[in-house]
């Protein structure tokens, strides 16, 4: 038999084989137990002794060549098999992977906000939820029996005078300033509590994030700059920001900060009460009386502080219209984040 002829035949067969099935048929035809190569090998003992060696080598070479060709063809066919309609896998089938969990949207927003402030050089700190009357109120220039307390309905502990559940994250300002000297650049996320009946926009527990910067020569204009960068980072670079004078006992001057409505872009819609603005946070320069309480010299140091409700930001960002959803923990809600 002419090895060269056989080889030409093999090459022709292979080039016509266009599917893994066809290739498998060829493999059986040539390399199977009753295939051509086996037949050739089986014919060796019948040859003349001097021919056996060279013929054997030729058959071996043919077999190796055939194996190579089959492998190559197999690879090229495998390459084709991802083409739709030409695959043994229906790519319309669901992918196979372990299921991922989710962090709570509140955690996500806290993470996002903290990251923005981290980039600017602020550290993240937390404080206890059970607080002293002093840290929650008097240390923040909110005197006893004063109307300014009315904004802070507070849960008190039974049998435990002067202790309460913090009604805002600001006590951490007092704690931190008592412990450390300026410069300070801190953000504080956490749970806060206020006695309130639960409805679509009120809860007795919610989250705030507080920030403050204390150093020499911190100015009101710095507060504007930092908050503008922050709000643009979290919402969108094209939002507008506006500072409105307001009153907080622990800051002077104080401001409420609005952003242009995310839905109507400031034209006025039902989401913003036709105002075009959404109230987003409270801020101001830390009151000298707060500094005095922690033995900082208000002549030397100045600083600003700001605070905001996390749920409100999450509701605006994700278009959530009922605050109770955050604490119901319906998996159909959680899995969306």
């Amino acid at each position: 038999m002419d090895i060269n002829l056989i080889q030409a035949q093999i090459e022709a067969d292979l080039s016509n084989a266009n599917s893994p099935q066809a290739l498998e048929e060829l493999r059986i035809k040539y390399l199977g137990r009753k295939g051509l190569i086996a037949e050739l090998t089986g014919s060796i003992p019948a040859l003349a002794a001097e021919q056996r060696g060279s013929f054997g080598k030729e058959v071996n070479a043919l077999k190796n060549r055939l194996l190579n060709l089959l492998n190559e063809k197999e690879k090229s066919l495998a390459g084709d098999s991802l083409k739709p309609g030409n695959a043994d896998v229906d790519i319309g089938m669901p992918g196979i992977a372990p299921e991922l969990g989710t962090v709570h949207p509140i955690t996500r927003i806290i993470g996002e906000i903290s990251t923005v402030f981290n980039h600017m050089g602020f550290c993240v700190l937390e404080g206890p939820e059970v607080e002293t009357e002093h840290n929650n109120f008097t240390g923040l220039n909110i005197p006893l029996e004063h109307p300014s307390r009315d904004a802070f309905d507070t849960f008190y502990l039974k049998n435990y005078t002067n202790f309460l559940l913090r009604s805002h994250t600001s006590p951490v300002q007092v704690r931190t300033m008592k412990k450390h000297k300026p410069p300070l650049a801190i953000v504080v996320p956490g749970r806060v509590y206020r006695p309130d009946a639960v409805d679509a926009s009120h809860l007795f527990m919610f989250h705030q994030i507080e920030g403050f910067l204390v150093d020499e020569n911190v100015r009101f204009s710095d507060l504007k700059g930092i908050l503008s960068f922050f709000l643009k980072s979290v919402f969108s670079s094209d939002i507008k920001m506006r500072f409105r004078p307001h009153f907080f006992p622990f800051t002077e001057p104080s401001a409420e900060v609005d952003i242009s409505c995310l839905i109507c872009k400031g034209k006025g819609c039902s989401a913003c009460g036709r105002k075009g603005w959404l109230e987003i946070l409270g801020a101001g320069m830390i009151h000298p009386n707060v500094f005095k309480q922690v033995d900082y010299d208000p002549k030397k140091y100045t600083g600003f502080a700001f605070g905001m409700g996390i749920e409100r930001i999450a509701m605006l960002k994700y278009g959530i219209n009922d605050i109770r959803l955050f604490f119901e923990n319906d998996l159909r809600f959680l899995k969306q984040f």
């Binding site: 969990g101 955690t107 602020f122 004063h146 650049a185 006695p195 204009s221 504007k224 002077e252 959680l334």
Partner: protein
């Protein structure tokens, strides 16, 4: 508070539209929350911050508009009328404590004709949401809204002994207020009494007995300054809010008290044909307005602005401040009586900023100097959340306050250690939770109700308990606690249901068991670099989780009683709770790299049958003990119980990996070791190799 456009215009020229005015007021700190057209007038509803009682009047708002627009205020001047000596009626006034009432004045107006108010007066009051009563009462209300000072008119002839006594109520004293409610008074309530009994609650509401009615002929018009804290306490004690109390609590001032009294008298004389017939004011406190030194440079330094000194001066005088003395670098600012909120230079800086306009102040970025010693440590909480989310769990956030019933339902006995809330609004705010588990069980049950097949949630939050008292013993219930509240961070996981997922072999439905939870915790510990952990069955209590020989948490399979309480049927609920404070010391995420092996490892499996009550952990301990140091790991790779295995036994396959650091192991070496392990197992646990 409400003000109207036309009423404001009586105090100054307003050249801008109501809408523009609303915008300007908002940007000056008087947030206009609504603006409505009402007939030929406009009503502004303004949210007044608690520091600005002076804004609780038409005059106050007008003054602010003047400062913003530059228009001059038209202030009315009232003169004390001269009363002929023979027309003076006698009246006795005594103030028992000057600290409770620093100023009290009584004007007697005789021969008044009480009747309906003229239309204009009625309309004005109605626009502000105030019901018209009669001309006298309406006039006192009109002055309250216009000047911001609350007044009260008594029927003079009904005051026993024609006498006014400002005193604390005696315990048990009673009176009926103008709203027809009987009120029980006490020593912390300041009252206006006549010779015999209380006739008004100071600063809050008058009494029914001396009410001005259509029969009234002579009145006593009160204008006073009461202690704000007393008014606040009485208002809270009696649950009695009024326009008057609102203003007294925030602070009224002497000058306005005097002006309001005169203004009201004049109106009463004009509209109800009364005649002044006496004025009594036991003593008027001397007031010296505060003086503040202000450097314009300070204002600019605080604000980051460059406002000229002249502009600062103009803004402050526009607001009614008295700029007494000036040099180039210093202003001496006299604070008017109606601005008791202004005490420090920073308060003046705010006034300048408000009128100059917050929006005119530039945005700058400060140089921030981060302090690495504060909060610089990497917090483990985000890491834990990442691992658990990677393992497919969903983070829940539940309320830290719970109702006692929820704890009971979950099988937790409320004890002296639980931290209770003094003033909950509802049952669900009773107790600060000592554990996260009940909240997670409830959340899980809720999701099962929503037809979720598989619930896998976790929460990381604080749990609370009373700390130990000084003696080290828990403080007895009811006593004031000297210790502190222990607040520690806890991780809780809850799993339930059938986890189904698609594989090449089709859908696999896997019911979660405690081993799934164990797997999650092992994954977490490994990721946190915690090496020494163990899980020990504790019978009824569940499984205790041990890290570095210390119990740091528990795993449990919820018992039937609790499952029934939450109405969970035919399902296993698996829970874990871990005290994160206790593990944080053992977290090591800064581990050193260990070199990659240079020589190949060889794996040998042992398949065997062993008695069912023999613990896999014990088997593995023996295997590793014997195999060290060449045996690198021994893991259970298969487990079966069933037909091929004798009853009461289990079939196991343990995969042993052998490797040396300095050479390739030979077949002989491994066989020798592997066989000796097998023999040891046969000897110790009577295993049967398969």
């Amino acid at each position: 508070m409400k003000v109207t456009y036309n009423w404001l215009k009586e105090f100054l020229n307003i050249k801008i539209s109501p809408k523009e005015l609303a915008e300007k007021l908002t940007m000056a700190g008087l947030e206009v929350v609504s603006l409505e057209e009402a007939g030929r007038d406009f009503v502004f509803e303004i949210e007044i911050t608690s520091n600005r009682p002076d804004w609780l009047s038409i005059l106050g708002v007008a003054r602010e508009i003047g400062a913003v627009t530059g228009e001059k205020l038209k202030a009315a001047v009232f003169k004390e009328p001269k009363i002929k000596a023979k027309e003076i009626n006698p009246v006795k006034i005594s103030i028992l404590d000057k600290k409770d009432c620093s100023f009290y004045s009584a004007r007697l107006i005789c021969g008044v004709k009480v009747g309906p108010s003229p239309l204009w007066l009625k309309e004005r009051l109605e626009l502000l949401g105030c019901r018209s009563v009669n001309n006298i009462v309406d006039i006192t209300n009109y002055i309250l809204f216009e000047l911001g000072h609350p007044l009260h008119a008594f029927d003079l002839d009904l005051l026993a002994g024609k006498e006014i006594v400002v005193r604390r109520a005696k315990a048990g004293e009673k009176m009926v207020t103008l709203d027809n409610q009987p009120r029980l008074l006490g020593n912390d309530i300041l009252i206006i009494a006549d010779k015999d009994r209380p006739q008004a609650i100071a600063g809050i509401m008058g009494g029914k007995d001396t009410e001005v009615t259509f029969k009234t002929r002579n009145i006593l018009l009160e204008s006073a300054v009461f202690n704000p804290v007393l008014v606040r306490r009485a208002r809270q004690r009696l649950g009695l809010q009024s326009e008057s109390a609102y203003r007294f609590e925030r602070g009224v001032n002497l000058e306005t008290a005097k002006a309001a009294s005169l203004a009201a008298q004049e109106l009463i004389c004009n509209l109800a044909s009364g005649k002044p017939c006496g004025y009594k004011c036991p003593s008027s406190p001397k007031i010296s307005g505060a003086m503040i030194n202000l450097e314009p440079a300070y204002v600019n330094r605080m604000l980051g602005t460059d406002i000229p000194a002249l502009k600062i001066k103009k803004i402050l005088s526009g607001l009614g401040f008295d700029l007494k003395m000036q040099s180039k670098n210093r202003l001496v600012v006299g604070v008017p009586g109606f601005r008791q909120d202004v005490k420090l230079p920073i308060d003046l800086a705010e006034e300048v900023a408000r009128i100059y306009g917050y929006s005119e102040i530039a945005q700058t970025l400060p140089a921030i100097k981060p302090n690495v010693n504060i909060g610089g440590k990497r917090d483990i909480v985000p890491q834990i959340k990442n691992v658990l989310v990677g393992l497919g769990l969903h983070e829940a956030i539940t309320y830290s306050l719970v109702d006692r019933d929820l704890l009971k339902k979950s099988g937790i006995k409320p004890d002296a250690q639980s931290v209770e809330i003094l003033n909950p609004l509802s049952k669900e705010q009773e107790v600060l939770r000592p554990t996260l588990l009940p909240s997670l069980i409830r959340c899980l049950a809720y999701n099962l109700d929503q037809q979720q097949e598989y619930v896998n949630i976790f929460e990381i939050a604080n749990v609370f308990s009373y700390g130990k008292g000084a003696s080290g013993n828990p403080v007895s219930q009811g006593a004031i606690r000297p210790g502190s509240v222990d607040e520690s961070l806890s991780l809780s996981i809850a799993l339930c249901g059938m986890h189904s997922f698609l594989t090449r072999q089709g859908l696999i439905r896997d019911e979660v068991t405690i081993l799934h939870l164990k797997g999650i915790l092992e994954g977490l510990f490994n990721k946190l670099g915690i090496r020494d952990y163990d899980f020990r069955a504790q019978g009824e209590r569940g499984v205790s989780i041990i890290v570095n020989q210390q119990e740091i948490g528990i795993m449990l399979n919820l018992n039937k009683k609790v499952l029934d309480a939450f109405d969970i049927k035919n399902k296993q609920v698996i829970l874990a709770e871990i005290n994160l404070g206790k593990i944080s010391a053992f977290v090591n995420i800064d581990n050193k790299f260990s070199g990659l092996p240079k020589y190949p490892a060889i794996t040998r499996d042992i398949s065997f049958v062993v008695k069912g009550d023999i613990s896999i952990k014990d088997l593995l301990t023996v295997i590793t003990g014997k195999g060290l140091p060449l045996l690198r790991s021994a893991e259970v790779v298969d487990y079966y119980q069933g037909k091929q295995i004798p009853e009461g036994c289990k079939g196991l396959t343990v995969s042993c990996v052998y490797r040396a650091d300095d050479r390739t192991l030979t077949e002989e070496e491994i066989s020798l070791l592997h066989n000796s392990i097998c023999s040891l197992l046969e000897e110790r646990f009577s295993i049967k190799l398969r």
